[in-house]
């Protein structure tokens, strides 16, 4: 493009170049190519992401790559060592005064450049602006709603991958068209499965993401993968065991002065046998209820300082089968059943999301719960092997399971709801069976129990 600067300027326009390295690389680049046009650097890839440019290893391993390299050599280009993010691809946009776009070219692979004559033609006054506003077609949304009415009463075809595909027909295009580069998001249990996909997607939208994990090695491996896949280097891991109150307090103390915008309660366990934690709680109850309650309490003071704070509780469709049960949350008086313990605590999470929403109403923080459907995650495979064997061909991908979490965390209009329950980006009922409804007394008892057990509520909230 540098050879066409004069032709671009003859049309009353200017060439502006953005690269993904540091300023010193840009200075050398400017000197090598004798550029006198604006040359900007974007090491965090914010503008690349906002422009919707591609990134990835597959794109750089195209069979056309040798031909593209040969073409570049013939044109006089001599590639030296790559500076900046090696996996990032480029693109070209022609923008008119006022912001109309008359040309867009998103490179599909290394060496894929747009024809120069097309770019110059788009600078002509007669060039029509590109229609950019993408809306979900009405017929598609209508089809999605109609099919949802048919499949939703049958749990299997709603919670599985077919359900996601049908529900996604109603998704608003552009809902995740957000730049989260000024947001810090905390995701518990983020080293695999739905938590990993949530962290990955938030990092891809530019957020600073902190993975709260029990295992440093697995957490650091996840951080590395997310950095490589997104180019976002603002991804880190903190060691926290959600079933250990001391571990949660240690983390909160380490993070005492850090701003927080989003907290995702995703960490989950499904043990075969009753396991008692250091604090004397049954592990499922500790990791799903007491621990997240304490973490929310300790971080609430920082969340309310965000202009748009969001807390998301990742529940489970299994909670539909159980009533809130506070008679024996630690399973000391009944034979342990991991699946029931899981479902009861996931029911408690939905209630806690509603109670926290009330507690924080009037602040800048919204609190919602969701369930991801049935996703093919490492946890499902190891904890529910029989279920996984039977359903594996129908399960959603972890990314599909994470979609509604990301939507609740990132979508601008999702800040209008608090105390609600979502599935596939739509609000859902919290009860499908009449016997699962809890009383107001039960709800109050849950809050008081969590306060009592976590012992720390009044300190920082």
């Amino acid at each position: 493009m540098r050879d066409q600067i004069d032709e671009i300027r003859a049309r009353g326009a200017e060439l502006v170049i953005v690269g993904n390295g540091a300023p010193n690389f840009a200075a050398a680049f400017r000197e090598d190519f004798e550029l006198d046009c604006p040359l900007l650097v974007d090491p965090e890839l914010r503008a690349y992401r906002a422009a919707g440019l591609r990134r990835g290893r597959v794109e750089l391993l195209s069979p056309r790559l040798p031909l593209n390299a040969l073409r570049a050599l013939r044109s006089g280009s001599r590639q030296t060592s790559v500076q900046g993010d090696p996996w990032q691809l480029g693109g070209v946009f022609v923008i008119r005064p006022g912001g109309d776009l008359t040309y867009r070219y998103v490179s599909r692979e290394a060496g894929d450049h747009p024809p120069v004559d097309e770019i110059l033609a788009s600078l002509d006054e007669v060039a029509e602006p590109i229609q950019e506003v993408v809306e979900t077609p009405r017929t598609q949304a209508w089809l999605g709603r109609t099919l949802s009415h048919i499949v939703d009463p049958f749990i299997v075809s709603s919670f599985d991958r077919t359900g996601f595909r049908i529900h996604s027909l109603t998704f608003e295009a552009g809902d995740l068209d957000e730049d989260l580069s000024d947001r810090r998001c905390l995701v518990t249990g983020a080293n695999s499965g739905i938590g990993y996909e949530t962290a990955l997607a938030l990092a891809d939208l530019g957020a600073e993401v902190v993975l709260l994990c029990r295992n440093r090695e697995r957490g650091e491996k996840a951080v590395q993968q997310i950095r490589e896949q997104t180019g976002n280097q603002r991804v880190s891991v903190e060691l926290v065991d959600l079933s250990d109150l001391a571990s949660i307090r240690d983390f909160a103390a380490r993070f005492a002065s850090e701003p927080i915008d989003v907290l995702v309660h995703n960490a989950g366990v499904l043990p075969d046998e009753r396991v008692e934690t250091n604090d004397g709680f049954e592990q499922t109850f500790a990791a799903h209820v007491v621990g997240p309650f304490l973490l929310t309490s300790l971080l609430a003071g920082r969340l309310v300082k965000s202009t748009d704070g969001r807390v998301i509780w990742v529940s489970s469709g299994g909670m539909y089968t159980r009533r809130l049960n506070l008679d024996d949350p630690n399973w000391t008086e009944r034979d342990f059943d991991g699946v029931i313990a899981y479902a009861e605590t996931k029911r408690a999470q939905v209630v806690l999301a509603e109670l926290w929403a009330e507690k924080l109403r009037g602040s800048s923080v919204v609190v919602n719960a969701m369930h991801p459907g049935w996703a093919d995650t490492p946890a499902v495979k190891s904890s529910l092997p029989r279920f996984h064997r039977v359903t594996q061909n129908f399960l959603r991908t972890p990314a599909e399971g994470a979609d509604t979490i990301v939507w609740l965390a990132a979508c601008r209009r999702a800040s209008q709801w608090t105390g609600r329950f979502f599935f596939d980006r739509a609000e859902r009922r919290t009860h499908l069976l009449p016997f699962t409804r809890e009383s107001d007394e039960d709800r109050l008892a849950l809050w008081e129990l969590c306060e009592k057990l976590s012992e720390d509520f009044s300190n920082e909230s």
Binding site: G21, P23, L40, Q83, V92
Partner: protein, 40 residues
């Protein structure tokens, strides 16, 4: 949202380290905005 709207709030530094609002470049004239794959 238009690409230009998403880009206009982003400030990037030039080769000397001075910050520039991307949106300022198309306030008065058309621009060809080229994102290169890498320097080098």
């Amino acid at each position: 949202m238009q690409v230009s709207s998403r880009l206009s709030g982003i400030a990037l530094s030039d080769w000397k380290g001075t910050q520039h609002d991307l949106g300022a470049y198309w306030q008065e004239r058309s621009i060809v905005l080229v994102f290169i794959r890498h320097f080098g």
